[in-house]
């Protein structure tokens, strides 16, 4: 099957999922339920695309297929920033009330974190993947413990307010962030369109890419920023979904046989939308909300992650 046929199939499945989610078994007032559902679907599509896009480009500049921004603890950074803001400024401060300021601070912190991470882990020597993974886990745990520590000290009322911000889910979408997210995604795609060819060349490695006239280190910097902004967007909207990026990027690599980023980003985004919208449909109508999608995704993703690790270690050994 040709790649274009596969992409059309994925698109069809994605549309079916969206229609099912939008129209299946609407009880009560259509005028009430339908807009609510559409809001959620929009959030899922934005999140799905943002996570898929950021994972694919992140894996290109780090030259591996296992580490993702989430696995390296990038979305924990979002929680750190929010907790710090509540801890030092409080829920009534401008840093919380002004959503753009809040969002901007989170993005800035995540970009800085990503740059530091890259500088020390991926730039200098080629570390084995297990080392990087271990570092990612330790950073994740460290940030998690730090957040918990601060949360214990916070005033309980403040903590409740913070919690509603940190545990955003698809049923509790931060609707006020929807428009800014769509804007960011549009800009990210506009930029992506300009650098798609460069991304393909960069997958040949630093030296080959430089030989072909790519300003490699500068591009890496820009792509790290792009990746962080996308992860920040999806985390702010619906909270962290650790393993989604890993699953959809690798499924796309396996399913679509090409080196072209334009196709993989498209493919991974579609798979991501199918997983989120289709998954949420199952959760709401089949499991009747007895579980949440992130639990399912992290469960399947975790197993797939172990499978990839084993495969990688066999290939390396």
């Amino acid at each position: 099957m040709r790649n274009s046929t596969k992409l059309i199939m994925l698109t069809a499945i994605a549309i079916v999922c969206i229609l099912l989610y939008g129209f299946y078994d609407i009880k009560g007032g259509f005028d009430y339920a339908f807009p609510k559902r559409m809001l959620r679907v929009t959030a899922m599509i934005i999140t799905g695309i943002a996570i898929a896009y950021s994972t694919v480009v992140f894996q290109t500049i780090t030259h591996n297929r296992i580490l993702t921004p989430s696995v390296m603890g990038l979305d924990s950074m979002y929680q750190v920033v929010q907790t710090l803001i509540y801890f030092f400024a409080g829920s009534m401060s401008v840093w919380v009330l002004n959503k753009y300021l809040n969002f901007g601070a989170a993005i800035l912190a995540m970009v800085i974190f990503a740059l530091i991470l890259y500088r020390f882990l991926f730039r200098a020597d080629k570390h084995p993947i297990y080392f990087l993974l271990l570092i990612g886990m330790i950073i994740g745990t460290l940030l998690g413990s730090f957040v918990t520590f601060l949360q214990v000290l916070i005033d309980p009322v403040e903590y409740l307010s913070l919690q509603s911000r940190l545990f955003a889910t698809f049923t509790n979408v931060k609707a006020e962030l929807l428009f800014i997210s769509i804007g960011i995604l549009a800009l990210a795609f506009l930029y992506g369109y300009l650098i798609m060819g460069k991304l393909d060349v960069m997958s040949l490695g630093r030296e080959n890419a430089m030989n072909l006239g790519i300003n490699y280190d500068g591009m890496v910097m820009r792509i790290l920023i792009l990746s962080s902004v996308l992860i920040a967007t999806s985390t702010a909207l619906v909270g962290p979904i650790t393993f989604l990026g890993l699953i959809v990027a690798n499924l796309s690599y396996q399913y679509l046989v090409t080196y072209k980023h334009s196709i993989h980003i498209l493919g991974a985004s579609l798979i991501s939308i199918i997983a989120l919208v289709g998954g949420n449909f199952l959760v709401e109508h089949i499991f009747e909300l007895r579980t949440t999608l992130s639990v399912i995704i992290n469960f399947i993703g975790g197993i797939y992650f172990i499978y990839l690790l084993l495969k990688e270690s066999r290939a390396a050994g």
């Binding site: 030259h63 591996n64 297929r65 798609m196 060819g197 393909d200 060349v201 997958s203 040949l204 490695g205 630093r206 030296e207 080959n208 430089m210 030989n211 072909l212 006239g213 790519i214 300003n215 046989v257 080196y259």
Partner: protein, 255 residues
């Protein structure tokens, strides 16, 4: 013309290249030779901008290579390093097509396709152009990478030990192709070589390095003689003339 002026590079406290000044003559094959750790690859990396020099400068057409725009530089100078592990799955033709990136920016024109065809033809890869690189032997893969550099069609082609992993037949084949690139198309080739006989037979000029310092720089005939080689390699290397080629017989030297 590429001029290397007083180039120095340290890794940590250890100087790897020290105060090297060499001019690469256009229209020649220049070989970099020397023992392991002499700094040959590092020097080549600095000339091609992969590494930044600590002090000194490299001039391409009188302009410091740092001042060149990356995309323009890639149309003048190409480099191929030794280790070429790819994280992506590519066919031979896809890889070679990447060589046209500085011109096409990813959208191959008919003229670009012609360059790709030619490069594939040059490296005898036509019958395997649609195979994936991970299906090929080390030597075939190496030839595919060289084909990419040829497709890049630069005046200067820098190759870091391109004969690694290659059997004798393909080594000779590649050296002959490089010779053709220089003699017929007027290219300039700079190549790091381990086997001094390849340097002796196929190159016009030799640059000999040892411990990061420039030992000798001159026409091949001046470098390939026992006295000079003893200085570079610390071993006795008798030289025999065969059909006008000077062959270094270092296997049976009793030192």
């Amino acid at each position: 013309m590429i001029e290397i002026k007083g180039l120095t590079k340290q890794f940590g406290k250890k100087p790897v290249v020290e105060d090297v000044t060499v001019t690469i003559e256009p229209g020649t094959i220049t070989s970099f030779i020397g023992p392991n750790g002499a700094g040959k690859s590092t020097l080549l990396s600095m000339v091609s901008r992969l590494l930044e020099a600590d002090t000194g400068e490299v001039l391409l057409d009188q302009n410091n290579v740092k001042k060149w725009k990356s995309s323009d530089f890639a149309k003048r100078v190409s480099i191929l390093k030794q280790a070429n592990y790819l994280n992506v799955r590519l066919t031979v033709r896809e890889l070679v097509s990447f060589g046209r990136y500085p011109y096409s920016k990813g959208r191959l024109s008919a003229a670009d396709e012609k360059f790709v065809d030619q490069a594939i033809e040059y490296m005898n890869l036509a019958d395997m152009e649609n195979k994936y690189l991970d299906e090929l032997s080390g030597g075939q893969k190496q030839r595919a990478f060289i084909a990419m550099v040829i497709a890049q069609d630069t005046d200067y082609i820098l190759l870091d030990e391109p004969l690694n992993n290659l059997d004798m037949k393909h080594s000779v084949q590649i050296m002959k192709i490089l010779r053709k690139l220089v003699d017929e198309l007027g290219k300039t080739v700079v190549i790091v070589l381990h086997d001094i006989n390849f340097a002796s037979v196929y190159s016009d000029r030799i640059v000999a390095l040892k411990d990061g310092r420039l030992m000798k720089n001159g026409p091949t005939s001046e470098i390939i003689n026992s006295d000079v080689l003893r200085e570079i390699y610390d071993m006795e290397i008798p030289i025999q003339e065969q059909n006008g080629c000077r062959i270094c017989v270092y296997f049976n030297s009793h030192t």
